[in-house]
């Protein structure tokens, strides 16, 4: 049940991001190019959705250059 909920949530999130990125693509590259890019954007939207749904804590900071400590 949890897996099904998770998959549905991922799909829903990915669909939303796909529409958002297609709109940006149409604005930036034109509607025809946006449609050509649809399969690649769809793949990226799934990754973006996974990133969006992954649970992080407030103290989790971003990494840009990983060796910052040292």
């Amino acid at each position: 049940m949890d897996d099904i909920d998770e998959a549905a949530q991922l799909q829903s999130s990915a669909n939303g991001l796909l529409e958002r990125m297609l709109t940006t693509a149409a604005h930036r590259f034109g509607p025809e190019r946006a449609e050509e890019l649809r399969p690649v954007i769809a793949e990226l939207a799934v990754s973006a959705a996974r990133v969006q749904l992954y649970r992080l804590e407030l103290e989790d900071r971003p990494a840009f250059y990983l060796n910052a400590k040292l």
């Binding site: 991001l17 958002r20 990125m21 940006t24 693509a25 930036r28 590259f29 190019r33 890019l37 690649v40 954007i41 793949e43 990226l44 799934v46 990754s47 973006a48 959705a49 996974r50 990133v51 969006q52 992954y54 992080l56 989790d60 900071r61 971003p62 990494a63 840009f64 250059y65 990983l66 060796n67 040292l70």
Partner: protein
């Protein structure tokens, strides 16, 4: 002859650098029209330097541990006076005025640049015109396609490569040679055309572990010209090889890796059995929860940075990019900013989780790639088994472990904690001594 063997022979003056260079040039002339590893052979300069270094060796002068040893560099490394085109029409005729730090440091150690090797366009996905020396119908992998093929075909003992996802280890595995990617920041990226800023690494390809250890030895160390360069000690990596006692490995148990080709899993099983019989301790480990999001995080962060890296050139020359590079750049512009930042937070968490998980081990052990080199030249294989460690900036190394039923190389991958190169290289050398090396690929010209 490996790089270390050649260096020893040159020091003893039993071989001259010029003899070595000429034999490699002869081999390149015989083979590279079929293999297509080189985009530029620096014939005259290499011979000129070889004469100079040979004269010095005859007088007992040795500049460094690679005195007189030839190397090649992927065509993303700046090389003074020699074109650096990144496999792209966008940079056709581009020549830099300085050497990348890695190239300069190899030169300072006495190594001789023999030429530049093909890459996929800008290290993205449009393939290089290179074939796998083991079977010309198969991809050599990428993006460091030419570097791996040149070393595998004995056209050079050592190659500079790069890795953002799996671009050093995967081609090395597909071509039956050793591929090594140090920790993020260990080797300067100054003068290397970027694919991303946050996940690019310099890598090395050679025919044994000792050669990649020497290459690391002479190129590692802080470089103020690279803002990502790590200011950490550079131990004597070579003196730690071979390992005094058998290593302790964590064998990755994760459903993700069960998707590998059955031959790959069988080869891993056989390799771990042999290592275990020789004294290695192998304990099953499960990857942290953050692993489930790391490929997605790399995809998102990587595409955004690639888009920004290319924003200037793309604005001027978009029509000159090949299809996959153009797509990757264009979609990178579309990612919402907050998701780029979340991806970077996931990367940091995964790195932290992995460093903690790796503490009791010398290295993780897993297959380098999910399958042997695919039979086509239109893609460069799957990067998913190599990319998590690139994303986390952890050192990783691929060593050959056998041949598939189609006589294509198979390999195991070892992954260490951040800046654990001494123990990782020692463990890899120990594995190599147990598993042995592959024979050379079945090519017509002899080394």
């Amino acid at each position: 002859m490996t790089g270390c063997e050649a260096a020893a022979a040159i020091r003893q003056t039993s071989v001259s650098p010029l003899e070595l260079i000429d034999s490699l040039l002869e081999r390149i002339d015989a083979l590279d029209c079929e293999i297509g590893a080189f985009c530029f052979v620096d014939r005259e300069n290499a011979r000129r330097q070889a004469i100079q270094l040979g004269n010095e060796a005859a007088r007992g002068i040795v500049r460094g541990p690679l005195h007189g040893v030839p190397f090649v560099a992927k065509d993303l490394f700046y090389t003074r006076g020699i074109p650096t085109e990144a496999g792209s029409k966008v940079l056709k005729g581009h020549t830099s005025s300085f050497d990348a730090t890695a190239v300069a440091r190899l030169n300072q150690a006495g190594a001789i640049l023999l030429g530049k090797t093909h890459t996929t366009e800008f290290a993205i996905l449009d393939p290089a015109p290179t074939r796998n020396p083991w079977n010309y119908e198969h991809t050599p992998g990428g993006s460091s396609s030419g570097s791996a093929a040149a070393v595998a075909a004995h056209m050079a003992p050592l190659a500079l490569a790069t890795q953002t996802g799996g671009s050093t280890l995967r081609p090395a595995a597909f071509c039956g040679v050793v591929g090594f990617k140090p920790s993020f920041g260990r080797v300067s990226l100054h003068g290397v055309l970027p694919l991303t800023w946050c996940m690019d690494h310099v890598g090395f390809i050679a025919r044994d572990v000792a050669d990649v250890a020497v290459a690391l030895q002479v190129t590692a160390g802080f470089d103020p010209a690279d803002p990502a360069s790590a200011n950490v000690d550079v131990p004597d990596f070579r003196s730690l090889i071979p390992m005094a006692k058998p290593p302790i490995f964590g064998r990755v148990r994760h459903a993700f890796f069960d998707d590998a080709d059955p031959e790959v899993l069988m080869a891993l099983g056989e390799a771990t059995t042999r290592l275990s019989r020789s004294g290695a301790s192998i304990r099953d480990v499960r990857l942290p929860e953050s692993f489930t999001a790391i490929h997605a995080a790399q995809h998102v962060a990587g595409d955004v940075e690639t888009a920004e890296v290319h924003s200037g050139l793309y604005a001027l020359y978009s029509e000159l990019y090949r299809p996959k590079a153009r797509e990757a750049i264009e979609v990178g512009f579309l990612v919402p900013a907050e998701l780029y930042l979340r991806a970077q937070r996931i990367r940091q968490q995964f790195r932290s989780d992995m460093n903690e998980m790796l503490e009791p081990f010398d290295a993780l052990i897993l297959p380098t790639a999910n399958a042997p080199a695919p039979k086509h030249l239109v893609s460069v294989g799957d990067w998913k088994f190599q990319s998590p460690w690139s994303s986390a900036g952890l050192p990783s190394i691929s060593i050959p472990c056998g041949l598939s039923s189609a006589r294509l190389p198979l390999a195991i991958q070892l992954v260490g904690g951040a800046f654990s190169e001494p123990s990782l290289l020692a463990a890899a050398a120990w594995c190599e001594s147990v598993l042995g090396r592959l024979p050379p690929p079945p090519l017509s010209a002899s080394p």
